[in-house]
Amino acid sequence: MATAEQGSNRVMFGRVSKSGLMSFLSAQGILIFFLLSMVVFSFFSEQFLSQSNVMTVVRQASIIGIIAVGVTVVIIGGNLDLSVGSMLSFATVLVVDLHDKVGPTTAIILMFALTLMVGAINGFLVGFMRLNSLIVTLAMLSAIQGGILIYSGGQNVDIANQDGTWFSVFGRGYVAGIAVPVVIFAVLAIIVQIVMSYTSYGRRIFAVGGNPVAAVYSGIRKNWCVFSTYLISAFCVACAALVLGSRVMGSQNNVGQGYELLVLAGIILGGTSLLGGAGSIWKTVIGVLILGFIQNGLLLMGYPYYTQWLVTWVIIILAVWLDLANKRKRLLTTHS
């Protein structure tokens, strides 16, 4: 990636933040920003903090959130995954199309198997062939999109009998009053967070992302670790496809187009560094939720939906800048 962030302090041009307050703010910046924006939005709109609205936002954000959980693991391992958008289209088209042909259970199993296979291809190329992940997943983005179009012949797919199938439970169902997409999102996020924080597997992923050479010298099988991160990412995409396919009960060929960048925006906003070796799932969850609440809040205030993109631009850069300035200060204090 770009050299500026990796280089020594001289090569980086930003200023160092001075006061202790500033450093506290930037350390917890994203959380504070989250709370502040909630307060501001709730001033402007009474419905904003109502239970039904909050649940709606979380439910809407859950598809991006589910994918983001997986991609965060890939990024912590020091790589990128741009193919998740295409992979989401692929999995959604597959599960919806197969639903009427072979029945829901087989369709879901096949969809998971094939999506994991695509993830394995990614993982093999990046992990074992040691190719640049950005270009590999960019190439896969295009190849998978082509594959979907060949498979479906350019036709949109849908489920004929929408009421007579239990498949709808993933997108439209509720468990104890909570929407199933949210439950899937929460369960995945919690499990992956626990795995990343409290298991030796998680520590290995951090080690590989932070310093691959040191990781290999300490006996970590780097290639397998990288490979497995892509499997996790593919698994999350498959879960997201389950939710998306079941909510819409049909699918366009390009339904996931652009998701890879929204997912990245959420992850970056949460404060996970693209350089690998740092980050956490709960930060990503907050980043994704911020994007969701900003979108919702601006809509409730009467702005058209595209204003959120402008706001996203500004806060992404501010968030990363604050984060970077904070890290640089820490770096300076330990050295001097």
């Binding site: 040691r130 950005l134 006996g219 925006a265 992404i316």
Partner: protein, 323 residues
């Protein structure tokens, strides 16, 4: 035999006079001219040049940015903004509209460059943000409407030709020549390589790396805007979603052309080959009546193959430990 092998290896590494991508271009040209009677006609070849000029112009600027060790994901959005401005502002006169469109590219390029320079935030993140934000700007400006050119001089420009050569193709080739010379013959070009190759060493050598990075972002912004204006003249219209995914196509073309994502290595001639390879593949497969979907798969496979070949040949350069 052994000598031969070494030559092949050296050639594929790009060390020789002819770049591998150009051999690929020639191979697919020969292939398609056997497969289709109409492929190798002057009309079709100029057509390919016009079709590729949009991606090609952006790729010229992107080559600089990538040699510099950065990346720009916002080019598709800049293209869309410039196209909308160049059509939407025509009530104030054609010149004003085109100048405003080109200026928008320069300004957004400058914003990207300055943020990367002054904050040290990764260019990937900065331009990803800009890509989302500029798309928002387009929607705010157009109000989700498509614009149609009322001034016929504008649409005529896109269809104009000098002799047998379409004007758009000539503009693209002239720009490529200029960018090639700037990269090869000027201090800015040399410094771009130096910064991308080793930012630390470049700084020690007294190169103002921030300025060169910013200039390169401005260059790519300008070319994206120019491509947007020219694309709008071809269509006589602009839609708010114009340019979606163009950043991915552009990066694909530049990487095919042999420019390294890590910086410090690349060339305009290679990029030209990469752009043409994509254009010829798309056009030739259309001629063979292969559904457009297959092009996406083939491009993906080629891109990964290029990476594999490149890595197998440069094992020593990137030698790492592995278990």
């Amino acid at each position: 035999m052994v000598n031969n092998m070494i030559n092949v290896k050296g050639f594929l590494k790009g060390g020789g006079f002819v770049q591998p991508i150009w051999v690929f271009v020639i191979v697919i040209t020969v292939f398609f001219s056997f497969m289709s009677d109409y492929f190798l006609s002057v009309g079709n070849l100029t057509n390919i040049l016009v079709q590729t000029s949009t991606i090609g112009l952006i790729a010229l600027g992107m080559t600089y940015v990538m040699i510099n060790g950065n990346i720009d994901l916002s080019v598709g959005a800049i293209l869309g903004l410039a196209a909308s401005l160049s059509v939407g502002l025509q009530d104030y006169g054609l010149a004003v509209a085109v100048i405003a469109a080109l200026a928008s590219g320069l300004i957004i390029g400058a914003i990207n460059g300055l943020i990367v320079w002054k904050t040290g935030v990764n260019a990937f993140i900065v331009t990803l943000g800009a890509m989302i934000g500029v798309r928002g700007l387009i929607f705010v400006y157009t109000g989700e409407q498509s614009f149609y050119a009322t001034n016929f001089a504008f649409s005529d420009f896109g269809a104009a030709s000098i002799g047998p050569f379409p004007l758009l193709a000539i503009i693209f080739l002239v720009c490529a020549l200029i960018m090639h010379l700037v990269l090869k013959k000027t201090g800015h070009g040399r410094n771009t390589f130096a910064v991308g190759g080793n930012a630390e060493a470049a700084l020690d050598a007294g190169i103002r790396i921030g300025r060169h990075m910013t200039i390169n972002f401005i260059i790519v912004g300008f070319f994206a805007a120019l491509a947007g204006v020219l694309l709008a003249t071809q269509m006589g219209a602009a839609t708010p979603n114009l340019g979606r995914d163009y950043e991915l196509w552009t990066i694909t073309a530049v990487v095919l052309g042999g420019t390294k994502l890590t910086g410090g290595y690349g060339s305009i001639t290679g990029t030209l080959g990469g752009v043409l390879a994509i254009g010829i593949l798309r056009n030739g497969m259309n001629m063979m009546q292969v559904p457009a979907f297959y092009v996406l798969v083939i491009l993906g496979v080629i891109l990964i193959s290029v990476l594999v070949i490149d890595q197998k040949l440069n094992v020593h350069a990137s030698k790492g430990v592995s278990i």
